[in-house]
Symmetry: C2
Subunit: 474 residues, 2 copies
């Protein structure tokens, strides 16, 4: 369905802020995840707002004309979150990338949504500060995208997720109303928490135009390294116990045996083909005691090797396999590709069972499924590999994938710890939350965006009434 977006030419925007060119539209037809799935939808137009006023003007006009608007930035999301599923406008926020204000004395920075995460981190590093919850894609993903999906990353085990580091937002509702949420105070109980409602709402409730982020001090002591275990049970058991003991790990990542084998192939390295845990310790005092405590725990789980370094280059080398895993998986066999990227996340006590089940569900279907993730959070990326040209294999893969996600729900976990629902996990939303909670979410959506202008076709499963969350369209 083509949407008439010619009204954009009448709006007070510069020529270089609007494009109908196919090449520009194609660039915003997919995100990383949907591209892997071969899913693309061309928007009818691309708009590059340069101010909050621009966003407000475009949203008010689009809502009036019933034209969908899907926010876009780096396009690094994994669940099709940024695909313009119903066409209309792709609202590219990458030009709104300013550092608007920086208050190091309050550990706060105000930024536009289009700024790259690592740029924030680098800017504040000079003052001994950091933005802790950056995802692994932090040097290409934008702050706006991280807010949209409530992203998190390797340091979340210690420092929490993006939502924990957003103090307030400026955002534009579908009708063009500009709102400010939150406060510069570290805590508030004033009115409804609009900030945390918008964080993770994937651009379906409002478009974020500015964010006030909290920062943390950088630790005085950092050590990094790697531990090798004989069995997956040993590795996951050791991780769970280290987390429970609150050892001062800021990162604790797992690669299963298959993942290590794939990185050995890819990097031509000779790591033992065995489950491997990657560690980084942060402390201001006593880091050696923390490392000793961790080693003691790991020894109880029969650790085979335990290497830790204080040297940046050595740490980087010890971590190489973890850093390259996504590339190693995609390059393992030319015809095999990850069926669906994304993650599940479970309570830490259920993590050993979750990983074991993910592997079993793939293996019993003769499929490869390298497993890795931010293990300290109970987070698992289970990459079921299939040949997209083999429908029978794809079908087996879909079954293994679906049963793995359902297992996460059964274990009290979530179908997506850090990538949002997007298009990819809509069918699981009600399984996880129940009909009552999903209906409450729908009511909130209708309250703030009654025409379903903002990023339609995401989060909510299709209903008997139709695809979109509005009453007048079937």
């Amino acid at each position: 369905m083509t949407r008439d977006c010619s009204f954009l030419e009448e709006l007070p925007l510069e020529d270089d802020q609007v494009s109908f060119a196919e090449s520009r539209r194609e660039d915003r037809a997919a995100d990383w995840g949907s591209e892997q799935r071969g899913r693309e939808v061309l928007p009818d137009a691309v708009v590059w707002p340069e101010s909050t006023e621009d966003v407000s003007t475009v949203l008010a006009a689009a809502t009036e004309r019933d034209v969908p608007v899907t926010p876009y930035a780096a396009g690094t999301s994994l669940e099709g979150n940024a695909v313009p599923a119903h066409g209309g406008i792709s609202l590219d926020l990458t030009r709104m990338d300013d550092i608007v204000d920086y208050r190091p004395d309050d550990f706060q920075i105000d930024v536009g949504p289009g700024i790259i995460g690592s740029e924030v981190d680098e800017r504040v590093a000079r003052d001994g500060l950091m933005f802790p919850p950056l995802p692994s894609s932090g040097d290409i993903s934008t702050i706006g995208g991280m807010i949209a999906t409530d992203a998190s990353g390797m340091q979340t085990v210690r420092y929490g997720e993006v939502a924990d580091w957003v103090l307030g937002l400026e955002a534009v509702l579908a009708d063009g109303t500009v709102i400010e949420t939150g406060s510069r105070a570290k805590k508030t109980s004033s009115g409804y928490n609009l900030t945390d409602l918008l964080v993770g709402s994937e651009g379906t409730l409002a478009v974020v135009t500015e964010a006030t982020l909290e920062l943390a001090g950088r630790p005085h002591q950092i050590r990094g390294g790697r531990a090798v275990f004989e069995t997956l049970e040993d590795a996951t058991g050791a991780i769970a116990e280290a987390v429970r003991t609150e050892v001062a790990v800021a990162r604790i990542e797992l690669l299963d045996e298959l993942s290590v084998r794939m990185t050995n192939d890819y990097l031509e390295t000779g790591l033992p083909d065995a489950p491997t845990v990657f560690l980084e310790f942060h402390a201001n005092h006593g880091i050696e005691e923390e490392i000793d405590l961790c080693l003691t725990i790991f020894e109880d789980h029969d650790v085979l090797e335990f290497e830790i370094s204080a040297d940046d280059d050595e740490m980087s080398e010890l971590w190489e396999a973890r850093r390259e895993i996504a590339f190693a998986v995609e390059n393992y066999e030319p015809e095999l590709h990850t069926l669906h990227p994304g993650d599940v996340t479970v309570p830490i006590s259920a993590y050993p069972e979750m990983v074991r089940e993910a592997k079993r569900l793939a293996e019993e279907r003769d499929l490869l499924a390298p497993c890795y993730g931010h293990a300290g959070d109970g987070n698992l990326h289970h990459n079921v590999l299939v040949d997209p040209d083999d429908p029978e294999m794809v079908e087996r893969g879909e079954e293994a994938y679906r049963k793995t996600v359902e297992k996460a729900i059964e274990l009290g976990g979530t179908v997506t710890g850090e990538h949002g629902i997007g298009e990819g996990k809509r069918q699981f939303l009600e399984d996880e939350h129940g009909a009552g909670a999903v209906d409450a979410m729908r009511r909130l959506k209708r309250a703030l965006d009654p025409t379903d202008t903002l990023n339609p076709g995401k989060i909510f499963p299709e209903t008997a009434e139709g695809e979109r969350v509005r009453d007048d369209e079937t």
Copy 2:
């Protein structure tokens, strides 16, 4: 206006679960804060639900009959949050006080809303765990009340507020629908964050019937003590710098000179009449280095005395003045009472100015205003003292109070850091958040509770259309 609540007798509740007796209704006509203000509204009936089903039954029936329902528990709120402003039913949740499930391996506990906060803390202490964000009233206030106001307390400077420790909720909407929010996973980006929308919503969106709380490990090292400064500027400057330096304080509290004088009077102690900072350090390693670092910072701000102890009894004695301050204030002069309890909270860099202004605004009106609070959060309790029988003095007090709250907004802070809006701060909601954000909050309220059954007359300021957040009542 009397509401006909006789339908309660038809519902499947036991006799001892419903009362129309005046004495029982009177007990729930006020909370701590409204009592101080002389504000009482009798509910027409009191109901004690004992299960989620009871809550659902009562809410569905009340909504159908347009009878307001106001949740009640310990009644320790300070902003009139639990006053049944429009009559109807006071829903007393204190019988729903079970520990439903406890999973120490996951640092999680599921409890009913009526359980007292300190009971949770005591139960988990046996396993070396704690529930960190308990407010100062934690040994009488309930978890449900803490969730309703997104409470926080002395340890918030280190561990965050209640919202940071709620993983999920079971709650009942006005129409009786039971929903479950969140997940047992430590992080999730699955659908809208209903949990953090309900936390702090003061029972206006849903009634919480069960909460999954996160727990933390108790620190291995604890030290407590007290520091005395010559001037308020020295004390607040030292606090701000200690927070910025991320010294391992888990509590850092301020009493101004007047507050100390009042506690000396009340306790017959001989502390120096000078601004005093109360400290507690938590660490797993190197606590002595942390204390030394703190002393160095305090010396830069001309600290006069600095006493720290590792002994429980000594720590308790050093903290006595802080513990007794609320009683000391109320007993200072028989005819003088706090005009409005509650707090304001500002960014830490603005804290010195906030305290100075609060004192100046009172002093220039010849009023006493002892100032104290959870200084590390930028939190200030500014108790303007007046004789309620002296209308001219009350008027001066109201002006000092109002200007103090407005100053907090001007400094980028919030009108209520930890007690909610309730009735007491409704007139400031729009000043803090702006018309757009308040309208968005109203839309959310109407979406989940279109008849304004739940705790009407709270949070939102009165509008031209009337007192309640609904379209059909003026």
